[in-house]
Symmetry: C2
Subunit: 335 residues, 2 copies
Amino acid sequence: MTGIPKTYQRIVLAARPRGPVAPENFRLETLDVPELADGEVLIRNHYLSLDPYMRGRMSSAKSYASSQPLDQTMIGGTAGQVVASRNDYYRVGEFVGGMLGWADMGVSDGVLLRKLDTTRIPLSTYLGVVGMPGMAAWYGFNQILEAGAGDTVVVSAAAGAVGSVVGQLARLRGCRVVGIAGGPEKCEYVVKQLGFHACVDYKAGNLEADLAAATPDGVDAIFENVGGACLDASLARTNAFARVALCGLIAGFNGQEMPIKNSRLLLLNRVTLRGFIITEHMEFWQQGLQELAVLVANHQIKYRETVAEGLAAAPQAFMGLLQGHNFGKQLVKLI
Amino acid sequence: MTGIPKTYQRIVLAARPRGPVAPENFRLETLDVPELADGEVLIRNHYLSLDPYMRGRMSSAKSYASSQPLDQTMIGGTAGQVVASRNDYYRVGEFVGGMLGWADMGVSDGVLLRKLDTTRIPLSTYLGVVGMPGMAAWYGFNQILEAGAGDTVVVSAAAGAVGSVVGQLARLRGCRVVGIAGGPEKCEYVVKQLGFHACVDYKAGNLEADLAAATPDGVDAIFENVGGACLDASLARTNAFARVALCGLIAGFNGQEMPIKNSRLLLLNRVTLRGFIITEHMEFWQQGLQELAVLVANHQIKYRETVAEGLAAAPQAFMGLLQGHNFGKQLVKLI
């Protein structure tokens, strides 16, 4: 086990946020690398995934998942390499994904790890387009929106890790795809690189009118990552029997009021809205990830990553993610 | 055709409401009874149904149905008796249901009429518990809520024509049924006569806390007729994977803002919400009405009617309905 560091770093939740997440909510710690017990694997994490769901875990409010405990390693998905193993199934040098948290190393009994094949797609994609965000897009689009050729699909946070995949899946299906994103640079990326038919810049201050202009035939399906004014603007354009996949409400992560003002349209247009948590639909993951991996390998789905360098940069990158500073999937490169 | 009046009365929409519906929105007119053409039927209406959906039709705002035209007979469901016929299928004396509007007589070509069997259940029930309101309850409960034994179901406007049926269907299914209604008299009726397990009086000013006390195991299914604070209070109690059948939003019929403040819970609790319009699901009517007729004939479903006397009383009765003054199905007796 030469070359294995004696210590590693992790970031713990130091205090729960009051309002926006702040640097003092986190604390960087250095720990000794533990000795492996029989059956355990030591992993050097190469990438940490930063995701909006983490904001919910930082609060103590009731949620679908338990709160992140104080003074414990922040929860998070990781992709890395086995550097030591006392488990027959995992060998040194193999790439694995897991939930080892905000840390540059981790120990696992192997049960919740999975081997990652990096021969056709890069390791980092298993945290994004071929990982949890990609699956959220795949499930919401295929199992909830049920959009067909010619349908108009609106996707909020269109330049993000989830939204960018939703829009490309919809385009491949033959839908008219309209994104909502923040700023002209993201909108240009969404249209020119990802192939959306249009993208509305919500920061331009004219969301309702701009979205109306971009959806001349109304809206048949909404993939919602943001909530608040975004969702209301999309609901205002719904056609009869429109579907809403409610995947995220990032507009309200700091506890802002986020009412659905257009509730009347849910009835008038006989809308079906469904909130979902992708980790509760594991029965679809094998199929979905396989489809996504092929699409990425064939360059039919493009992706973009915003990569922060080093574990110490994670808090700032996470705060940026919550404010929409990222472009595509937000990662932290750890090695 | 002896005994048939030469004239009849109708009520037309005189002006669209600005804010609450007012008497001057309506005008009572007397018209000559027309001569029947070949294939036509002349019907003496015995009952006119008053329903919340009419409020939407009175506005010119976009809706799922076309607006009620000005100076035309107000739309409405009717149950009456054939008094003259030039149609081989309909004979004088037969009872028929139709959409002849706010009028004490009407002419039909027979296409949209249906014969009503009054041997086991009264004529008026075909406008309520065995009519459109009953079907809204049946469809929303069976096709959207999918509630099973032990589930907690919340029903708003629980003493109304739709809510009273929803609650009884849920009770027969073995659910725990909690109503929301306005005032102690309605709540007592809902519990003692209709067999709900509890009923919360929203007028008592303590809706959230009272509903929480009445739903110790949370809420699995919501049949929503009201919207606004009612829906928010119910959403606040949802369990994971709760369902919401959105049937009406009577709280907002005068154009009030009616935001869903608890939008966050739609995601956190992975709620499925579906708005529906019962007239779009005719494929279920034969089955549903048959089941409801049997349940009513066997006294397994009870109902109550608020009956206004005479066509001229219809506007006042309708305004009362919108303010929740009715108890069960609001009818106008025309003969």
